[in-house]
Subunit: 374 residues, 4 copies
Amino acid sequence: MKSLNVGLIGTGYMGKCHALAWNAVASVFGDVPRPRLAVLAEASQDLAERKARELGFERATGDWRRLVSDPDIDVVSITTPNAFHPEMAIAALEAGKHIWCEKPMATKLEDAERMLAAARASGRVAALGYNYIQNPAMRLIRRILEEGRIGEVNHVRLEMDEDFMANPEDLFTLKSEASSGHGALDDFGVHPLSLLRALLGGVRRMCGHMAKPYADRPVQGGGRRKVETYDIATVLMELDNGASGVLALNRSAWGRKGRIFVQIFGSKGTVVYDQERMNEVQLYTVDGLKETQGFRTILTGPQHPPYDRFIPAPGHGLGFNDLKIIECRELMRRIGGEKAHLIEFEDGIRIERTVDAMARSAHEGRWVEVAAGG
Amino acid sequence: MKSLNVGLIGTGYMGKCHALAWNAVASVFGDVPRPRLAVLAEASQDLAERKARELGFERATGDWRRLVSDPDIDVVSITTPNAFHPEMAIAALEAGKHIWCEKPMATKLEDAERMLAAARASGRVAALGYNYIQNPAMRLIRRILEEGRIGEVNHVRLEMDEDFMANPEDLFTLKSEASSGHGALDDFGVHPLSLLRALLGGVRRMCGHMAKPYADRPVQGGGRRKVETYDIATVLMELDNGASGVLALNRSAWGRKGRIFVQIFGSKGTVVYDQERMNEVQLYTVDGLKETQGFRTILTGPQHPPYDRFIPAPGHGLGFNDLKIIECRELMRRIGGEKAHLIEFEDGIRIERTVDAMARSAHEGRWVEVAAGG
Amino acid sequence: MKSLNVGLIGTGYMGKCHALAWNAVASVFGDVPRPRLAVLAEASQDLAERKARELGFERATGDWRRLVSDPDIDVVSITTPNAFHPEMAIAALEAGKHIWCEKPMATKLEDAERMLAAARASGRVAALGYNYIQNPAMRLIRRILEEGRIGEVNHVRLEMDEDFMANPEDLFTLKSEASSGHGALDDFGVHPLSLLRALLGGVRRMCGHMAKPYADRPVQGGGRRKVETYDIATVLMELDNGASGVLALNRSAWGRKGRIFVQIFGSKGTVVYDQERMNEVQLYTVDGLKETQGFRTILTGPQHPPYDRFIPAPGHGLGFNDLKIIECRELMRRIGGEKAHLIEFEDGIRIERTVDAMARSAHEGRWVEVAAGG
Amino acid sequence: MKSLNVGLIGTGYMGKCHALAWNAVASVFGDVPRPRLAVLAEASQDLAERKARELGFERATGDWRRLVSDPDIDVVSITTPNAFHPEMAIAALEAGKHIWCEKPMATKLEDAERMLAAARASGRVAALGYNYIQNPAMRLIRRILEEGRIGEVNHVRLEMDEDFMANPEDLFTLKSEASSGHGALDDFGVHPLSLLRALLGGVRRMCGHMAKPYADRPVQGGGRRKVETYDIATVLMELDNGASGVLALNRSAWGRKGRIFVQIFGSKGTVVYDQERMNEVQLYTVDGLKETQGFRTILTGPQHPPYDRFIPAPGHGLGFNDLKIIECRELMRRIGGEKAHLIEFEDGIRIERTVDAMARSAHEGRWVEVAAGG
């Protein structure tokens, strides 16, 4: 595997997260060549230079187009606001770069479809930043399912809740404008749907509902403006595998900080996961004596790879940023021609089509079907 | 308040629970006269006599009609299988008895409507056995809501899960026959809906879905029989108060034993409750320093009446049967002409109409509305 | 088994608890004859009569001596403050009554020894009110230990914490007077030690420490008075079976309401129990695949007798008062000549000797040994 | 602040952890200059070179003495087995290097005292790897204590449990040899004691006990060998601030993976922390309405610095390795002449003296005092 020269566009929440991952991946895993943090692009040259210093990139540019056309660059991390993804991703792919683009692909489905076409045409790796699937806990769940430990799955419940929109007196922002998307459904829904896809597959029928907890919000300088997006969404689902499901999303859920709650019911057991306790998996199986059956709390440890690459002792805990490091290594393996555990555009588009269908269903107040295979 | 002469029909799970409540209510509360456990009716005279001895009833009969027509009896506990409720309840009401009937009212909505008519015509108290609403924890939640501690409620999630139908190799029973009802929806749904009604009110629009985890089950003697009921149900809801909601029910949920999980989101906080930990309430509010906000686990205690009538020390724990004792005392107060916290037929019918509409919605695959006020 | 005529002395916290148990035991279990609630004694005739009405006793007396000498009475519940136990218990035993005395036996060890002598001389059953050992959860733990599910036990940690003494500005009461005993050690210590005895046996060596969180407390009318008792106690232990142990007690532990936390470590697993979640047992064993080992939360249910006598469905929850009902039935079986699971004076005295030795050890600042067998 | 040239000795569990921290610290914090990972020393040149490549060090050596005498090096990470610390630390300090030495300082107290003398003589920074104190959760607790949120602390309980020695059939290793130290007491005790020191200060009197869960262990090739160390230790404590305390340690505690359980009781509230859920703090305070008091679970977030340097969203979770990055930045600030939150040799020696006194106390079976200030 040859070393990769990395370009990074954007240095916000996810930009820093990518930078930390590129910086750490070789030391953590020891089985991939150390990437060169080559170029960082930001909105201005000044900002780019400051951030390049902070994040350890060699060069800086205020023009992302120069980064994507730089012949020295092998792979581009795209971490700008979602509306910028299509243009940047397509340009990078057309310039022959591999890309690692934050989720969701785009704010409009047709843009995402164009991105997919560009990825197919380029023959390059186009991976999405669905890092929750990289959690060793999540891999353990996948293995539990694959090994039939809970039998055949027949029902799934997915919840994702945070509270950054919970205060009705917070100022009106872009998040409440229709141009930003539907609301919780696309802002949040893609995360639990990525877990669903990684664990069980797609959704074939769905009936959605969206709600506004607050009709309006204060505007800077006085007055109030009508909220245009839906901070709450709920969806009934029939999965490809025949199981029934529910999805519930709330970005105005006071007290929830990073909750993604997953309940998977099968014919021989149940698995439960809560992202706020990301180093734990709850498992109930019908093995053994009835009098001592119960949900067990499994703490992740070295027996749940690649936890062992971070810490040799069990129960010591990975953090959110560690998931990105795992994702980065999967991407590097994929670029190197190996099999990897990643959501690429081919799968990502299915998540976006599903979200689109859910929103349609909510607007039309009826069940909607998605073509087989999403 | 005069002492009541009690008749009990049925001595199964709920029959015993009623007997224990009638027996304990005066000693626990000290503010209601000791009821006389007068007559017990069972399927045969023999069984009735044995059970009367065990449960402390003075007389026994193998004919419930003799019990409901006994001039000595003031109030009749009806705890037989649901299909028997209509006939027994109507006969008792027509004989001028107060009744305490287990939920749900009936297996068919038209029967429940007839029961309501009989109750109205009789002028007697016709109460239902929705004992979960009697939990001091639930009363605390009601008070939290009424005092606006979590602001205006905008989203609710209700789950009820047990695992008595979870084993696909358990024999086919009545529970899997269409004659027993829809399945989880009426078997379970009424419980969370009773909490919803006691806390927040009714449901005006709904879109349901029902699923069968297992297509067939083994039959005694060999072979398999097709399952006719739905062990899983999920429903999107719009509440009378404008909030959005989700209801999810699963009586084949491995590992869940008596879980009724309630999440209520408001503009200033969130309340969470789990029936499997029935002496706890989770509350998040935005009061105080941001750095120490968090969900607090409130253990019920003497400050949450009527816990104090059972135990003077906090955190020592009530049990499921204690809820029935509280319900019994509410019923006695109601019969005595006082205000009481009970679900009577007038409210109960709204729960049953809601369940009926949910089932209709599931069968027709579309949203259904219920007339205002349920 | 013949029916018992019951006398009750005292109607406080525990008096009511006894009354409820005597009243419910036959209905709950169905396998013991219904006791006759014959006589209730309280400090005055008036109070006794009022309480007898409330709690369902036939007769009332303001003189407990009349109760214990009443030839009609078979068994006497003694639930008065601890200082009264010796006189009452000895009188009742000498009058040929069985007794059910609340714990601890006495405020002074020599009194407890006299009580034991009286019990031996009488040939009657002299049982103590250690109801926590009656929890089906606790019986499950005993069975787990007996079956070797966690191997050989080598370490135990016991904690008991409540917060009724936690407020330093609460008025000085009897609990802070030396005459009431040592403090947390005898007030609380007997409970976890009763669990220890029921599960694992006695303590042979110990080194204790006692502490006063608050030097003084306000006195009604002004001023402050020095606190004479120790609200906190900690003890190192060597158990009869060779295991090491720690005991920690705090009756000024803010936020703890009825916590008795038990951790038992063995060569093949670990058991954990928290009285505040009295329907749960935590069990870790090394069986099965390493990758899915974890502490499992076992919810008690019908498979954990005698839970089934209360409720046929699992996970629905017993309450604190239910434990007394179980204890009452054990007592009735014992009086009837059957084997029973009870702490009688013969075992109770060992608990009191242990507490006494712990206090001595704390006062003298050194390890103390207890004669083999307590 | 000038950039630092870093030397690393050792590449085991903690060596890798140091390497990851040096590599990430500048990118995470953005306010310290990027360190140069200059030289890595391992037992052989070959191994050193392989590890240098993996962990991103420029040069490698099989001789640690060359590293500590390298004029290019500013600071040396010492992560070798504890027995090597004294020689390496003293050599590095004498060569004028700052050092970052893993805990504990040494296997014998006199060696630790020599290390302290060398540090004093050198005038260099000599920091210890007590990374648990760096957790934002722990800093929050410190702030809660300093602000008097739980009033005056009067009782503390500390537990540390893992299960790497729990299997009695695991082969005899160095950990069971007396030369490795006392056992759990020095292996584990320093961790909770570091938390205690960072939060509340030192221990002035103590009475310890040590126990061997397993008398012997199998030896490779057959037979069994007597265990010489104590996998379990328990200690009663009187703290410098007057509070009473208990310390319980068990490295054969089945099911515990990285549990450090801390309970701090004060006159106005209680704080509880569990290292296995390192992103949570439990807090009970007596503020507000009594009916809604309860332990609240605080999820760490950006309001708990320096969490914000890792992730801008709350509740997303830091991991164990992140704590080392925070420690690394504190060290860099300290070297740069700023105030920092670190345990240096001056404090570390107090922890080791405390452990030494605890072991003495256990061996002699009596209370032992430590000079004021440890």
